[in-house]
Symmetry: none
DNA sequence: AAGTGGTCTAGACCACCAG
DNA sequence: TGGTGGTCTAGACCACTTT
């Protein structure tokens, strides 16, 4: 006799959605059926339909938003395991480091920051903006958001002496760090901070760095580097 | 007024378990409370306790087995060796790789190329231009210059099958690789090759890669990536 | 007001593993 | 046989967004 394998229903629903995405019939941005839709059309409880959508969300195939729906996500190419040399550390080793503190205070999380740092909108966060100088010339603009519950004294430190990143690594050892790299056109404010005088010219490299401790995001750093200032170290094979 | 934030119960359970793991009171291999145990002790339904355990399983903190229980997992050991893996290799692993050969011929070094490759002006070099495709969509534009004395058959290879970079690593093992990163505005030709025309204006990440063998430069690659396509993997400290 | 996703409950049946 | 995790149900309340 043929052994019929029992396939979980949530998997059938996942495959149904995946097929539509893979075949292109649901292009990026398409709204997929809601939990209730799927529950009805697959004759399944909402919790089961929900599981299918949630796992597709976790896997990056969907973006979901309360009150709006679930949408086909834009595929992202991942390149694992790249080390970015720390520009600031580099300058410090050369003995030319100094820091300009643009701001350092307590703020309330907007939607983007809240999502990225896994906190609620309007939660209190620390925010610091620094310009790292190499021989008194701006080398990097840093915008850092810190979860106060994990580093309550963050805002009281003297960042003329200690770099914010080093302080955080000390008080709340991250067990995980994520990097994301992109190229951007700096805003007028960013250009001013970096003293990029050439009008409108010059894209920058943006590095987004997220430190985790257990399940919590300790900090989110947004580093803006002028286009030509970022050199990666030599690597031996 | 003090806003009390509603914390989901499954999160409290997760944190409870994480704290025991992080503090060392539940070492690797320890059996953690079962779904039913947690449901009772936290006065919660089994589905809620289950969620906490399942997420910790997904995140690699626990190993679970039907009939046996949930156990503290051994911390994931990541390679301490840092590697810059290129986008192309990644796409190949996904089985979605293809390549469009824009040009492949013999040229004479201009001043910039000659200086960068440590050869004389007007020396003969091989030059290839490729568009690396991920599921038939451009993911990276590669411009590669090769020293013919170190890879004389470079120009005769079939790059539909073998990536130029892989071929070079095979015929002339580089003992040293340098990377340089910058942000650029793509030229009209580059935008066309990457099919960025519909996305309007946008900066790109440029990676310049130089392979050395002994004191000679084997190759110089200039890789252009659309601004948002480059995500870096997580890294354990 | 209607619809969406986020959380949660109090049950249920199953396959699996242990003593 | 009793406990474990894996799947599933048919409800529920909430915060949120859109209409």
């Amino acid at each position: 006799m043929s052994d019929t394998v029992k396939i979980p229903r949530f998997l059938l629903i996942k495959q149904y959605i995946e097929n539509h995405i893979a075949s292109g019939s649901w292009p990026v941005g398409t709204r997929v059926p809601s939990e209730n839709d799927l529950a009805v059309s697959f004759s399944v409880s909402r919790m089961t339909a929900r599981r299918a959508l949630k796992e597709l969300d976790d896997q990056g195939f969907l973006n979901r938003a309360p009150g709006r729906g679930s949408f086909v996500a834009k595929p992202q190419v991942r390149a694992p395991h790249i080390e970015l040399r720390n520009v600031v550390q580099n300058i410090q080793n050369l003995g030319r480091y100094s820091c300009r503190i643009v701001s350092l205070d307590s703020i309330h999380a907007d939607m983007f920051i809240a999502k990225t740092m896994r906190v609620n909108v309007d939660d209190e966060l620390y925010k610091g903006v620094f310009v790292h100088l190499d021989a008194n010339k701006p080398a990097q603009l840093e915008e850092i958001y810190v979860n106060p519950s994990l580093a309550p004294a963050f805002i009281k430190q003297n960042y003329q002496k200690v770099v914010a990143d080093a302080y955080l690594n000390w008080v709340a050892q991250p067990n995980h760090t994520e990097y994301q790299l992109s190229a951007i056109m700096p805003s007028a404010a960013q250009r001013r901070q970096l003293e990029l005088t050439h009008e409108g010219e010059g894209p920058c490299i943006k590095i987004t760095k997220r430190h985790w401790a257990q399940e919590l995001v300790i900090s989110l750093s947004i580093l803006i580097n002028p286009s030509d200032s970022y050199h990666l170290g030599a690597e031996i094979t």
